[in-house]
């Protein structure tokens, strides 16, 4: 597959002056300074360098080719040191070299087909997207979530204000969960004397399928969606060895059938957005629940405000240990403010508070671009809470971040 990418880059390079060719990329250096150490991680600081390059080429009016490659290295071994180009995105660590996109878009009248590795985003809300099932998340650091691409065939039919999306994903892409020897894996006090081992994931063999019907009108837009596949966040059943010194677990990905919808209604002063999905488990390997988000948005000159509530209603419990990477952010109010100081500078503030006070997150940030290429961003993430709460357990993980990006 990497040869295919190289061939595409080579071909695109030769046609750089051809119509319909564009490219962009960036180099980014970032560093995190943590305020405390934790029992399974004694590091105060982590650093990462990231390089991304993206090509788009439209050789024919009906054909677009997209490719993007990412290379990264870090100080904390969250990034793999292997130089093998990764296509599947199934490794525990982030791959050092990965293909983020390699897709062909074919268009004919109202039909668009996208084949290959691509990003597929569903849903309307900003904080949490219950219907967004073809967008597995990289949750290595829990509070900085990256979306992973999937290998899929996507067919879109548009007719007037309606759009119908069919997605078939033959190759499963799991979400990435925190590494067991690092601070974002919380080891309860009772397990602190055990050696915790991830003995390897069991990936589903069959494909996933989804369909989404969306409609846009003057006063609203809405969609209905259905998904039949697997939860990209794992469940597991931990087992103890005979000497009771080691706990091992093997993540597996429960079958999932989901019925969802979203809605956006621009009102005179506010925009109301809602998104909900009912998660069912045909194999009873995970809980069944309704996950929903209600959100209000308001723009006041250069200040953009988002305020909302993420909720959850559990209708059936399963006897497995389930990683709550998404549900862990429900039952909470959240807010986001973005203030544009001028064309180069922005201030942001993210707020998250669990409804029972079990955890809270506060993240002020400042971003400044210099000239045409450079952007510097600094932020501080303050975490607080109860060790029994999904987010609260990271109360020792407050950290400051500085990023410097060069775009070209």
């Amino acid at each position: 597959m990497s040869k295919l990418l190289v061939a595409f880059v080579w071909a695109a390079g030769f046609t750089a002056h051809a119509q319909g060719f564009s490219q962009r990329g960036f180099m980014e250096m970032s560093g995190n300074i943590y305020t405390q150490t934790v029992p399974n991680d004694s590091a105060y600081g982590t650093g990462e360098a990231l390089f991304g390059y993206e090509l788009k080429w439209q050789p024919k009016p009906w054909l677009i080719l997209n490719a993007s490659l990412e290379a990264r290295i870090d100080t904390h071994h969250q990034d793999s040191r292997s130089l093998q180009v990764d296509w599947e995105d199934r490794s525990l660590q982030r791959p050092a070299l990965s293909i983020r996109q390699l897709s062909a878009v074919l268009k004919r009248d109202n039909l668009t087909m996208t084949l290959g590795k691509q990003f597929i985003r569903w849903g309307e809300t900003d904080f949490l997207n219950p219907t967004d099932r073809f967008a597995p998340k990289d949750l290595l650091t829990i509070v900085d979530q990256e979306v992973l691409p999937v290998t899929a065939v996507r067919l879109t039919y548009t007719h007037g204000n309606n759009a119908l999306n069919f997605v078939w994903q033959p190759l499963f892409t799991p979400g990435r969960i925190p590494l067991v020897n690092q601070r974002w894996t919380f080891v309860p006090e009772a397990f602190s004397q055990f050696d915790v081992q991830n003995i390897g994931s069991k990936f589903p063999g069959r494909s996933s399928f989804g369909v989404r019907w969306s409609r846009t009108s003057a006063g609203y837009e809405w969609s209905l969606s259905y998904y039949d596949g697997f939860n990209y966040l794992p469940s597991s059943i931990p087992s103890f060895d005979a000497t009771l010194t080691r706990v091992s677990f093997s993540p597996f990905y429960p079958a999932l059938r989901l019925y969802g919808g979203d809605l956006a209604i621009p009102l005179s002063q506010l925009t109301l957005k809602g998104e909900a999905a009912y998660y069912t488990s045909p194999t009873n390997q995970q809980d069944e629940y309704l996950l929903y988000v209600l959100q209000l948005e308001r723009q006041i000159h250069d200040l953009r405000l988002i305020f909302g509530y993420a909720g959850e209603v559990v209708t059936a419990h399963a006897e497995t240990l389930q990683f709550a990477g998404e549900r862990g952010f429900a039952r909470a109010v959240f807010g986001h403010a973005l203030y544009t100081l001028d064309s180069n500078r922005t201030l942001t503030l993210d707020v998250f508070v669990r409804q029972n006070g079990g955890s809270a997150l506060l993240r002020p940030g400042y971003s400044h671009s210099f000239g045409e290429h450079w952007r510097a961003t600094v932020s501080f993430t303050w975490l607080s809470g109860d060790p029994n709460d999904f987010l609260g357990r990271y109360y020792r993980n407050s950290f400051a971040t500085a990023e410097l990006r060069y775009s070209f």
Binding site: T114, A135, T271, R298, N344
Partner: protein, 251 residues
């Protein structure tokens, strides 16, 4: 009411009606003369803020359709920091447009709600509403008289959005060159306060259509201005409606 006064009142009403009709006729002619099936250009923007700091941006613009019934896409092509950010505008003859903004880093689009249209578009002095293309039927016009602007004789016309139409502006003053039926300046007011001036300069005939190659926007509330210079302007290129959909916009 005695007869002479009645006749005077009728005459005054008639004069008002003639003026109102003239203003609409002028604006109809302005619209007709700048009409094309499609348009493409590349625009260089210089945003000069109150402390005279300059930031430069560049976008590519495509439009399909005519006033009030058109679709357009505007996509930043420079600087690299914002490259790929795009705005899709679907204009409607009877109401404000639908707008979506695409931010590649987020891999999703965001609908620009009506109440957000007065905010600045991505750090420029254009508001989202300024990037719409509204049909003249959405406004009432009144001819205020003649005026001179840059040595050209102009009609000075007041426009107000019709009661049912949503706009950030309460009213606008328009200057239309008499010799070309071309809009050369717009002063936009919120209540009685002048908030934004747009000047259309460096006018050339391209494919028989008078085109301003230099558009200067001044935001008087923040004392900043944006100058948009148009390049590679082409009209009536073959374009497809399917290229102006949310699905295509995300590619």
């Amino acid at each position: 009411m005695n007869k002479p006064l009645c006749a005077l009142a009728l005459l005054a009403c008639h004069a008002c009606a003639v003026h109102a009709q003239d203003a609409r006729q002028i604006m109809t002619e302005v619209q007709n003369r700048t009409q094309s099936k499609s348009e493409h250009y590349e625009g260089s923007l210089e945003v000069i803020n109150a402390s005279q700091k300059i930031s430069k941006k560049r976008w590519a613009y495509d439009r399909l359709g005519v006033y009030g019934n058109s679709k357009s896409e505007l996509r930043f092509i420079a600087p690299p920091d914002v490259k790929g950010v795009a705005l899709l505008v679907i204009n409607h003859p009877d109401r404000a447009s639908d707008q979506w903004m695409w931010i590649p880093a987020e891999e999703r689009d965001r609908r620009i709600a009506l109440q957000d249209r007065s905010s600045r578009f991505f750090g420029t002095d254009f508001s989202f509403e300024d990037l719409e293309e509204r049909d003249i039927d959405q406004y009432d016009f009144k001819l205020l008289g003649d005026d001179k602007l840059d040595d050209a004789t102009c009609w000075k016309i007041e426009s107000r959005p019709k009661e049912s139409k949503t706009s950030q502006y309460t009213s606008s003053l328009l200057w239309v060159r008499k010799d070309r039926y071309f809009l050369v300046r717009t002063d936009n007011f919120i209540k009685d306060r002048l908030v934004r001036q747009i000047a259309y300069r460096d006018v050339e005939s391209i494919d028989g259509i008078w085109t301003a190659l230099d558009v200067a926007v001044v935001d008087l509330t923040r004392n900043s201005r944006t100058v948009l210079s148009l390049e590679k302007v082409k009209y009536n290129l073959p374009m497809k409606s399917g290229d102006f959909t949310r699905e295509n916009f995300r590619q």
